[in-house]
C-alpha cells in the first residue's frame, strides 16, 4: 500500500494536477477568508462549509487519473502480476488523494492561526466542520476513484465523478422533486390522496436520509454524532470495495 501511495502522491507533483488542485483550493479558501476578514467577522466553520461545495470540482481533478491512466498506459498489469494485493492498491490511491487534500487544507490552518492571533474565535463548531470536511473528502475521493476505475478515459472519469458528487450534494433538492414526481405518478395510477401523500413522503424521506450534508449539519453547533461519521466512512468504504471489485472483475472478464 505504501508503494502505491508514495507513487501516486508524488505523481501529483510530477504533473500539473497537484499544483492546479492546490492553487484552486488556495484561491477559493483565500478568497472566502479574505472576504470575511475584510468585514471583520471571521467564521472558520462557514469557510469550511463553503469549501465543501467545491468538492464537486476539486475531487474529480485529483481522482480522474488515478486508475484510468493506469489502464491507458498498461501499467495496471503491474498490480495483477506482482505479489501486491488489489485492495491495497485501492487503499493506496485513496490515501494519496486524501493526503493531497490534507496539504490543500494547510491553507485553512493558516487562516485559523491568523484568526486566533487577531483575537478571533476557533470554537468546537469549527472543529466539528473540519472533522466532517475530512470524512466527506474521504467519501467523495472513493466515489471519484470508482469513477476512475470504470473507464480508461480521464475526461469521462472526471465527468462521472462530477455527477456522483453533484447528485450527492443535491440530494435534498432531488428528494423534493422525487416527492412531487412520485405523488403525481401514484395519483395517476388511481391511489387515494392520503396514501399517495404518505408514499411520496416515504420516498422523500428515504432520499433525504442519504444526504450527508443534512446528516452532519449539527457538527457546526458542536453536536458530534458518531453515527453520521460512520455513515460517511461506510459510503467511502463501499465505493472502495466497488472499485476493488471492478479491478478484480477485469481479471475474470469473459467479454
Amino acid at each position: 500500500m505504501t508503494a502505491i501511495f508514495k507513487r501516486e502522491f508524488l505523481s501529483y507533483f510530477r504533473s500539473p494536477v497537484g499544483y492546479v488542485a492546490i492553487a484552486l483550493f488556495s484561491f477559493l479558501s483565500g478568497f472566502i477568508f479574505y472576504s470575511q476578514f475584510a468585514v471583520g467577522t471571521v467564521d472558520i466553520a462557514s469557510e469550511v462549509i463553503t469549501l465543501r461545495s467545491f468538492f464537486v470540482v476539486i475531487v474529480p481533478i485529483i481522482t480522474m487519473g488515478l486508475l484510468s491512466e493506469d489502464k491507458k498506459r498498461g501499467t495496471d498489469i503491474l498490480y495483477y502480476t506482482t505479489p501486491v494485493n488489489l485492495f491495497n492498491v485501492v487503499a493506496g490511491k485513496v490515501l494519496a488523494a486524501f493526503a493531497l487534500y490534507a496539504i490543500m487544507f494547510i491553507n485553512v490552518i493558516i487562516h485559523i492561526i491568523v484568526t486566533v492571533n487577531c483575537g478571533g474565535v476557533f470554537g468546537v463548531g469549527a472543529m466539528g466542520t473540519i472533522i466532517v470536511f475530512f470524512f466527506m473528502a474521504f467519501m467523495f475521493i472513493s466515489m471519484g476513484l470508482f469513477a476512475s476505475a470504470i473507464t480508461d478515459n480521464q475526461i469521462v472519469s472526471a465527468i462521472i465523478a462530477f455527477l456522483f458528487i453533484l447528485i450527492t450534494q443535491l440530494l435534498s433538492v432531488i428528494s423534493e422533486y422525487a416527492y412531487t414526481a412520485s405523488y403525481s405518478i401514484v395519483k395517476v395510477l388511481g391511489v387515494k390522496a392520503d396514501a399517495a401523500t404518505s408514499f411520496a413522503n416515504a420516498i422523500r424521506k428515504g432520499i433525504a436520509w442519504l444526504d450527508p450534508f443534512v446528516k452532519t449539519q449539527d457538527f457546526r453547533l458542536g453536536i458530534f454524532s458518531v453515527s453520521s461519521l460512520i455513515f460517511l466512512v461506510s459510503v467511502g468504504v463501499l465505493f472502495m470495495y466497488l472499485t476493488f471489485r471492478v479491478l478484480e472483475k477485469k481479471r475474470w472478464s469473459q467479454a
Binding site: 504533473s15 495483477y80 481479471r251 469473459q254
Partner: protein, 317 residues
Amino acid sequence: MIEINNLVKSYGDKKAVKGISFTVNDGEVLGFLGPNGAGKTTTMNIITGYLSSTSGSVKVNGHDILEEPELAKKEIGYLPENPPLYTDMTVKEYLNFICDLKGVAKEKRKNQLENIVAMVKISDVYDRLIGNLSKGYKQRVGIAQALVGNPSILILDEPTVGLDPNQIIEIRRLIKALSRNHSVIISSHILSEIQEIADRVVIINRGKIAAIDTISDLSKRLSGQSKLLLTFRGPVKDAITKIRTVKGVSSAVSRVVDSKFSQIELTIGASDTTETRVGIFNLMAREGWPILELRSLDPSLEEVFLSITSGKGGAKS
C-alpha cells in the same frame, strides 16, 4: 518450472485459448510461436496472473497461480507486449517503485538494482525520465522491471517488436545472457528469432497447440518442405521440365517477370537445398541460362503452420 494444464479462456462464445498444456523446465528457454491473435498473449497473461483462466491450472514451481498467487507471482518476472512504464518517473524512481511492489527488502535493494542496471545496460539513462527514452531503452527498462525481485522465470511477450535491427540484436543477446540463470518463455511471431534463442518451441494456432518440439527437430521436419527462389533468363517450358529432373526438386512453379528478356522467376520445392542449388547451377551453366538470383526461401510462419496443421509435421504431443 511451470506446469500448464488444459488451459481454457473463453470470452463469451469465443474461445481464445482452447485447452493448452505444456511444461517449462528449469533453465529452459521456451519459444512461444503463433500468428497474431493465436492466443499467445492471453496464455501469457493467464500464466502471470493478469487474467484468470476459464478452466485449467497453472503451477509455478508448484504454486498454483490462483490458490497461492503471491508465492507464484514472486517466481515470475513479466514483460508484457507494452512495457508497463510510468513515463513521468525516472528509471531510478520506477525501479525502486517496482522493488516496493515486489516487496524487495531494503538492504538487498541497492545491490540487486546495481546488478540489473549493469546487466541490461541502462546505467547511462538511470536518472532520466522514462518518457524521454528511446524505444530500445524503454524495452530494456521493461526487462529490468521483470528482473526485479530475482524471479526464477521470465516471461517476455514479443520483446523485440518495434525495435530497429541493432536493438533487436542487443535485446536477443541480453535474453541469451539471462537464460543462463532463468527459465524463459519468449513469444514471437517471427520464426528465426525463436530459432536463435529457444531450446524448445510451442506453436499455437487459433488457441490450440499445433506443435511442441525442439528447434532442431522442428527444422528437420520443415526442411523437407524447403523452397528455393530462382530468377534466370531462358525459355519457360523447357526450363521447367529440365529443372524438374534435377535431384531433390519436387516441384517448380513459374512466373514470367519480364517477357521481353524472357526473364523467369521460379519457386522450386526442394528437399535438400544445398545439393539442389548445386544441381540447378550446373544445369543453368550447361544450358547457358544466366542466373540472376538464387536463394532459399525460409519457411514463413504461415507455411510452418500449413505444414504442421496439414499433418505433414503433425503435433507430436
